[in-house]
């Protein structure tokens, strides 16, 4: 997976063109990981508070 995109200018020199769009799915996966991670943490926290005889988080 590339981090950057490169191109060649009129003189044949390699120049930086931008960030690699290989990272687009990574950014999406990171967002998804935050959501799933929080959902799991939230579910475990709710289960823990029920085990301790407390009210689960309202949802």
């Amino acid at each position: 997976m590339e981090i950057f995109r490169f191109t060649r200018n009129a003189w044949g020199q390699e120049t930086l063109e931008g960030i690699s769009w290989d990272l687009l799915p990574v950014a999406f996966a990171l967002g998804l990981a935050i959501i799933v991670g929080h959902l799991v943490w939230r579910a475990l926290r709710g289960k823990g508070s029920v085990d301790r005889g407390q009210s689960p988080p309202s949802s």
Binding site: I19, S55, S58, S59
Partner: protein
């Protein structure tokens, strides 16, 4: 954490002024349009994305400038500042003032990413022919353009991740009062007291000495 009470007979307090809500939703729409016009062509959906992207970018830039002026001169910057007290309060389970640590961190991260995307986007407008100006791709040399494009792309990817998280958290049932407040401006005193210390954020106007008190 005690369950959220949704007592409808609680007095309502103001969380967001109408102008701030208009700013938020204009920014939200602009960011969604910018992400769609940037990422959909990469994913294979071909359309003439450049006009939509730069025009929406100009709208977002105007909104960001408006917010910077309003936040700097007409609101209390301190209420969004992240200090050691925020971390101490969060770790001790104490309630926050107007904004929780998580809200401040999200604002700082999203604000930084949008600022980077906006500044680099304004520079990149030099590469677009519009009715208002002619393109000048030689304003910067090739390698400098590369750095500008990298920063713009990196900021866009960060905004994608943060937007997903922001929308998810705004839809959580226990945070629904914040979403309602961003739509209607108000929240019940009881819902506010769940996460905010009434002695540090009263929900009154900013000339109230208790408002945003650290």
């Amino acid at each position: 954490m005690p369950p959220i009470r949704r007592d409808g007979d609680s007095p309502l307090i103001t969380r967001h002024a109408p102008i701030d809500r208009v700013f938020h939703w204009i920014t939200a729409l602009a960011v969604l349009l910018l992400m769609a016009s940037a990422f959909l062509p990469i994913l294979g959906l071909k359309f003439s994305w450049v006009p939509l992207h730069w025009i929406t970018g100009v709208v977002l830039t105007a909104a960001v400038l408006f917010h910077l002026v309003r936040a700097s001169f007409f609101k209390r910057l301190k209420c969004m500042w992240i200090g050691t007290r925020d971390f101490r309060d969060a770790s001790a389970g104490r309630r926050a003032a107007k904004y929780t640590l998580a809200q401040k961190l999200m604002h700082a991260a999203m604000g930084t990413a949008v600022l980077v995307a906006t500044v680099t986007g304004v520079i990149m407008l030099a590469k677009v022919d519009t009715p208002l100006w002619k393109r000048d791709p030689y304003m910067l040399d090739g390698s400098t353009w590369g750095v500008v494009y990298v920063l713009h792309g990196a900021a866009a990817l960060v905004i994608l991740t943060l937007t997903m998280a922001h929308i998810y958290f705004s839809l959580l049932p226990e945070k629904r009062a914040y979403l309602r407040a961003m739509i209607g401006g108000k929240m019940t005193r009881a819902a506010a007291a769940e996460f905010h210390d009434p002695n540090r954020w009263s929900g009154q106007r900013k000339d109230d000495p208790r408002e945003n008190h650290k």
